[in-house]
């Protein structure tokens, strides 16, 4: 295969590729942000919630984590429409990924919070901090350090899971790639190129995680 010829074809197809890349990034960003916010509350409820709340949230995380993402995607697209909630493919996809993300982040946050010695909470109580203050100034920053590597991992998983949305017709990067292949008959080249783009997105997430890790590291 002539590399210049392929670059030519990619240049010709730049708009669909960029649009697909944009959709993949926006879906991933929305799902990761919404999933992280929701996940922090899930983690807090799992760690500090009163018993009935903890049971409910435990059931939620176990159920969602034990369900394939594809099933969640299909459920939010097809099942919700039967109860009158008509979501478009994009909205249904973001919802499914955000819910999936929240259950993973919830577990990560729970693990991070539980790894902090109870002495920290006791000391915070001793100097008269309320619970929100304890979380904001004592537990939160420490938990963040513990949680970051696992969070980066989950965020990268979300980007990869976004490819499943092509099933319900979201024109993300993978579907755009398949559209190009059907026109050009160049499957290996285009799949390789899409793989490269996914790698770049995930590498950027990893660098971002490293950056936050450095910023939040305990000065030595």
């Amino acid at each position: 295969m002539d590399i210049m010829h392929f670059l030519d074809i990619i240049w010709l197809a730049r708009m669909p590729i960029l649009k697909g890349l944009g959709v993949t990034i926006s879906i991933s960003l929305l799902a990761i942000c919404a999933g992280t916010v929701l996940g922090v509350f899930v983690g807090l409820a799992l760690t500090y919630g009163i018993r009935p709340l903890r049971w409910i949230v435990r059931g939620y995380t176990d159920f969602i984590r034990g369900t394939p993402v594809l099933v969640l995607v299909l459920a939010s697209y097809y099942v919700l429409s039967t109860v009158g909630l008509q979501l478009g493919p994009f909205q249904a996809g973001v919802l499914a990924l955000a819910v999936f993300c929240s259950s993973h982040v919830g577990e990560i946050v729970r693990g991070a919070l539980q790894s902090i010695p109870t002495g920290q909470t006791e000391a915070a109580k001793a100097i008269g901090l309320t619970f929100p203050q304890t979380f904001a100034y004592v537990l939160g920053p420490q938990a963040l350090r513990h949680a970051l590597p696992a969070w980066v991992n989950t965020a990268a998983e979300m980007v990869k899971a976004s490819t499943l949305l092509s099933i319900i017709g979201v024109a993300e990067l993978l579907l755009r790639t398949q559209e190009l292949i059907s026109r050009t008959f160049m499957s290996l080249e285009f799949y390789f190129f899409a793989g490269l783009l996914y790698f770049i997105i995930n590498y950027a997430i990893e660098r971002f995680g490293r950056y936050v890790e450095r910023k939040t590291a305990v000065p030595t």
Partner: protein, 280 residues
């Protein structure tokens, strides 16, 4: 194939729910579509020449044109149509859950599917064909068959691929490849003597590369392609049938023939004037 059928089964499982949950509809889909002012058609975007994107990112193909025929019959304007992008697995669920008015997406008519949705009249008959290089040592299908075990056929990987080829060429060697471009490449590089796949795909590829390939002149494995609509709405089904029927035999024949020529490279002879062709 296997993963596809698992996905299909999963979607089907979800799509069963709404069937039972739905209340009886009194008004026809035809009135609903007319009131809305445009047709909502489900189709794919990754299969040339049926439904795929042009260089400037517009949906085009034979399935797309079938939708435009219906839109034109509805509103006198082939552009009053909205396409819902769906995977092949979502064809039936999106009809049963009312996400689309109609699906035209190279859907093979089978008894099993006809229990779930209502098929329109056929608009194309698909079959497997053979494509050879224009300068091939074999003239056509008969020459390939006579050559027996010394010919190699490249074909898309599939559980039934071997049997499918052997139904036409009992002794031929079968090489299976992962994607369509690879079976064409095998033919181009001389690793196979002919490529066997859907005749529509071959026709499209030959239209794209004029003079380089030739058709084997034999077709087998017939399949009927038809659009699908929701069951239980005879008014709507009749309307779509009428639109398609008149495109193949009546006032819209030129539209259909032009589309046929564009995507399959063949000219159609106009239906005979006088006694209706249907009763021949």
């Amino acid at each position: 194939m296997t993963s596809n059928s698992i996905i299909a089964a999963a979607i089907a499982a979800f799509a069963v729910l709404p069937i039972t949950a739905q209340a009886q509809e009194t008004k026809s889909k035809l009135d609903e579509v007319l009131a809305r002012g445009h047709l909502v058609m489900g189709t794919g975007s990754t299969n040339a020449p049926w439904h795929f994107k042009s260089v400037d990112d517009k949906l085009q193909g034979f399935d797309i044109d079938m939708g435009r025929i219906v839109a034109k019959a509805l509103f006198g304007d082939p552009d009053k149509i909205e396409f819902v992008n769906q995977s092949s697995d979502a064809r039936i669920p999106n009809i049963t859950t009312n996400k689309v008015d109609i699906t035209c997406q190279f859907m093979t008519v089978t008894g099993e599917r006809a229990q779930q949705i209502a098929f329109t009249i056929p608009y194309y008959r698909e079959g497997v064909g053979l494509m050879l290089k224009a300068d091939s040592q074999y003239a056509d299908y008969n020459a390939l068959k006579e050559a027996g075990s010394s010919v190699t056929i490249s074909v898309l990987q599939n559980v039934y691929a071997e049997d499918m080829v052997h139904a036409a060429l009992p002794e031929a060697k079968v090489d299976q490849y992962d994607s369509v471009d690879l079976i064409y490449q095998a033919l181009e590089s001389g690793r196979s003597d002919a490529a066997a796949t859907d005749q529509s795909s071959l026709a499209w590829y030959m239209t794209q590369n004029p003079g380089r390939y030739k058709d084997g002149g034999y077709g087998w494995n017939p399949q009927t392609y038809a659009c699908g609509v929701k069951r239980g709405d005879q008014d709507w089904l009749n309307f779509v049938n009428t639109a398609l029927h008149e495109a193949m035999t009546g006032v819209e024949f030129d539209f259909y023939a032009k589309s046929f020529k564009t995507w399959f490279g063949k000219d159609l002879t106009p239906p005979q004037i006088g006694f209706p062709v249907e009763y021949k």
